[in-house]
Symmetry: C2
Subunit: 367 residues, 2 copies
């Protein structure tokens, strides 16, 4: 009779999940003992009890509800990752790093994409905090007028990635944009490019782009005989990109010109535009782009990129969150990483003899 009984209960459990009370009943013990068993048997339950509980759990296929568990204790072991553009390989790479770090620490990463929509970002943050995530990693769409107060009201620790929120004391992890932009400008001027253009989508509200643009202007200004222009491409219109690129090249008036692209997406747009306009790189213009891409080495003559330590950035964000969760209440902290310029053909001046031919291809062939 016992086996039949438990078999019935098992099938019930399959259709509506066994609870801790079911297990307690099946094992003939109290909920408390089952709970103790589940959490780490500090009170050293007697071997007999332990055995009975264990077999009851097996029998019922019991899995504790994290939902109910979190309601009392607050520990959800959940970290939210809110990303502005999931289609940006940079974001995916950071995400990957964060996810690995979370897994290592027993946390689960919950990823939500906002597509750069501020209203959605707000709703998403509210939703995640209402699920009691213990921390938030935020790659914000940018709030030029400041983040609405309801978001900051909650006391979940937040770490910003790549983009700051001026006026808010959140931890931040990102690239040393000033230094890397300076290096990129120097890289180009060293190679004889005298007329430089910084191309971005819209600058407004996105700190990484603003910092890069500012550093670009500063670096161009302090380099003798170097002219720097900033172009905003806006969203998605190929004709607009073509127009901006042509205008920029014309403004060079025969001097060697080069583009510094503010992101992987802009690099893609520029390369597409060059193909459409039958412009050669680096003969017609040089190119350096932020963010290393899987195809950087494959598109002739190879695109010089500024590679970011994306895995480290993701891992560092998680570390920062865990530090806060452990009780660290020190002032907001910035973690700034340096990147690396990966030199390829697109920033090599064709005038320098011998460099534009086969060695360039060799470099380009390296993955």
């Amino acid at each position: 009779m016992k086996p039949i009984d438990s078999r019935i209960r098992t099938s019930l459990a399959a259709s509506s999940r066994a609870t801790i009370s079911d297990v307690a009943r099946e094992a003939g013990v109290s909920k408390t003992s089952v709970s103790r068993f589940l959490n780490g048997e500090q009170s050293t339950l007697s071997p007999g009890l332990r055995r009975r509980i264990d077999s009851a759990i097996q029998q019922l296929g019991y899995q504790p509800s994290q939902l109910a568990r979190s309601l009392k204790g607050g520990r959800t072991r959940l970290i939210g990752f809110v990303v502005a553009d999931i289609e940006n390989p940079y974001s995916v790479a950071v995400l990957h790093g964060a996810e690995a770090a979370c897994r290592e620490q027993g946390y689960t990463l919950v990823v939500c994409n906002t597509g750069g929509d501020r209203a959605l970002e707000r709703r998403t943050l509210a939703a995640l905090t209402s699920y009691n995530v213990e921390g938030l990693i935020l790659n914000t769409a940018g709030w030029p007028e400041g983040l609405p107060p309801d978001v900051t009201a909650s006391d979940v620790p937040i770490v910003l990635i790549d983009r700051r929120l001026p006026g808010h004391a959140f931890d931040f992890v990102g690239l040393d944009n000033a230094a890397m932009t300076g290096l990129a400008v120097q890289h180009l001027t060293d190679r004889g490019f005298g007329h430089l253009g910084f191309f971005a989508q819209n600058l407004a509200g996105v700190s990484a782009r603003l910092e890069r643009a500012a550093a670009f202007c500063a670096a161009a200004a302090r380099t003798e005989g170097c002219v720097g222009e900033v172009h905003e491409l806006g969203d998605a219109d190929p004709a607009a990109v073509d127009g901006a690129l042509k205008a920029f090249l014309a403004a060079g008036r025969g001097r060697p010109v080069a583009v510094l692209a503010a992101s992987g997406l802009v690099t893609l747009r520029i390369v597409q535009s060059a193909a459409r306009l039958r412009l050669r790189i680096p003969e017609d213009f040089g190119l350096v782009g932020f963010d290393e891409l899987e195809w950087s080495a494959l598109v002739p003559p190879g695109i010089t990129t500024i590679e970011q330590p994306t895995k480290d950035i993701g891992a560092s964000a998680v570390r920062g969150l865990l530090r806060r969760l452990a009780g660290d209440a020190s002032p907001a902290q910035d973690v700034i990483f340096l990147g690396r310029i990966v030199e390829r053909g697109s920033s090599r001046r064709p005038e320098c003899p011998g460099t534009a031919i086969s060695p360039a291809d060799e470099r380009a062939a390296r993955p």
Copy 2:
């Protein structure tokens, strides 16, 4: 005195979140009324009550806890998306489609990456169900010996994406691999390629790859004078790719050879290998790859790809889930999409006069 009182309570709320009881107390009503107010005031609360509750909510900055809400009712409005490889652009694109569909329906998509790790996939599924997600979209790492029973025990509806689980009656959304592979083979043989190679990572357990490989062999076999080879590249070793590619080309014995790459990642590896080995496409070998990539048009001579309707696949998966949630208990259903071959230079036979020169470049320049 009232304002001071409420200000104190406000600051308390900021540090530990207001609850429905706080709101009820502040408004001088019962929890029940507040709950009614929050859910849709079916019982038509009196205007006075409504006003008081509303202002109490504003005052306290109250946000209901989804956690607690879900505990009773079960409606978490959460859908889990478990993806085997978040770095695969195909997965991201599907994810994007699913996410848009979820948002439209008021659901939140929770994304978890398993990196192709079966044990982790299992843990992730358990974790998500223990958070009471209402449905699961699963891009499985593949279980050659079948999914462990504890995963299937839960009664959350599951939709598989791209990869089937033989022996399980789950809904499925994916590509018509047989048809698209057949078209690709015909595309290549039409253009004079007689010796074909299907290149994949490891076939084991991944239905999409297996179906493509099988369809490839079948198509090659029924095409007169066509030879088909299947190559497994394994993971990540460039030398192995180079070796396999060279061996394959040698086996062609001078006949026009072409590679069919089973995924975007394989396409990348093949193109990288070709660059390393100084092989020209399509002169030394033709190439068609599954999955459209942002750089397909940019790498000379342009890579011919099999484009999948990724957004539709993602949206369809969500639709399927919602259908199940609405109570549809009909047998498991397959939704199979057709793709589209995007022809570019990599599958154009150089022998055909006039096609390998500038028109090819023009095609390649199109984004």
